[in-house]
């Protein structure tokens, strides 16, 4: 099935892209999508222990199951305020 990947801030800069569609296996979880991202962009691998994720504009866990058409966002540590 197909999901949309979104990256923000330094993740976006390191990957050189902001949003793209990715195929994941049926039954895949958010962590599988992240593996797909780091396979394509190894520079992002060091963030693996320090990212947050969101599915369809809601924070999620890396263990959350994905569905066709999901929007999956990965977020580096935040620095608002």
């Amino acid at each position: 099935m197909r999901v949309t990947i979104r990256l923000f801030a330094r993740l976006r800069e390191l990957a050189g892209r902001e949003r793209w569609d990715m195929d994941v296996a049926t039954g895949a979880i958010v962590a599988d999508a992240w593996t797909g991202v780091t396979d394509a962009h190894p520079a992002l691998a060091p963030f693996s222990r320090a990212i947050s994720c969101a599915v369809n504009d809601q924070f999620s866990r890396m263990s959350q199951p994905l569905h066709e058409g999901d929007d999956v966002a990965f977020l580096p540590p935040v620095s608002g305020g």
Binding site: R6, F8, A9, R10, E13, A50, I51, S52, A54, D57, Q58, F59, A73, L75, P76, P77, V78, S79, G80, G81
Partner: protein, 160 residues
């Protein structure tokens, strides 16, 4: 009054909105405490040229709603406005404006402080600093809105 915006921030505008909201449902607030985060000219000794803030807008507003709900659980009569600016900001400009209204001042200060602590913990906004000789993405907390320890820590700071 919970928003991400590209335009300059005004405490006065938020104050009017918050005061009117509180008064519309009761006797009005007696105390408003506010916070503005402002771009400084230097960071760790380096001269800042300007900053850029990036947000995941939809999710950022959801964290503001969560923060407002957490505030109302603790201070049922409180009203909160919370706006983060994004895009390019010059030195002296405000990146975030928070206004908290309550009946009495101790609560107003606590609500305002709680809100800024929580924003720094969970809101998906990123600060990109531009210096004369390069740029840096600032990275702080790993955002986890369900982290009860972080919430308790913010509450402890606010109600010290």
């Amino acid at each position: 009054m919970l928003a991400v915006t590209r335009t300059p921030l005004s405490i006065d505008a938020l104050t009017m909105a918050v005061e009117a909201a509180v008064r519309s449902r009761g006797e009005g607030c007696g105390a408003l405490a506010s916070f503005l985060g402002v771009v400084r000219a230097t960071h760790q000794g380096r001269a800042v040229r300007y900053l850029e803030y990036e947000a995941y807008d939809a999710l950022a507003v959801k964290t503001f709603e969560q923060i407002r709900d957490e505030v109302c659980a603790q201070w049922p009569e409180a009203e909160l406005a919370l706006v983060h600016r994004v895009g390019r900001l010059e030195i002296g400009e405000a990146s975030i404006a928070i206004v908290a209204a309550t009946a009495h001042r101790a609560d107003a200060f606590a609500v305002c402080r709680y809100a800024i602590e929580r924003v720094k913990q969970i809101t998906p906004v990123w600060k990109h600093e531009f210096f004369a000789d390069g740029d840096t993405w600032v990275e702080g907390a790993v955002a986890d809105p369900e982290d009860a320890d972080a919430r308790k820590k913010a509450m402890a700071i606010a109600c010290a």
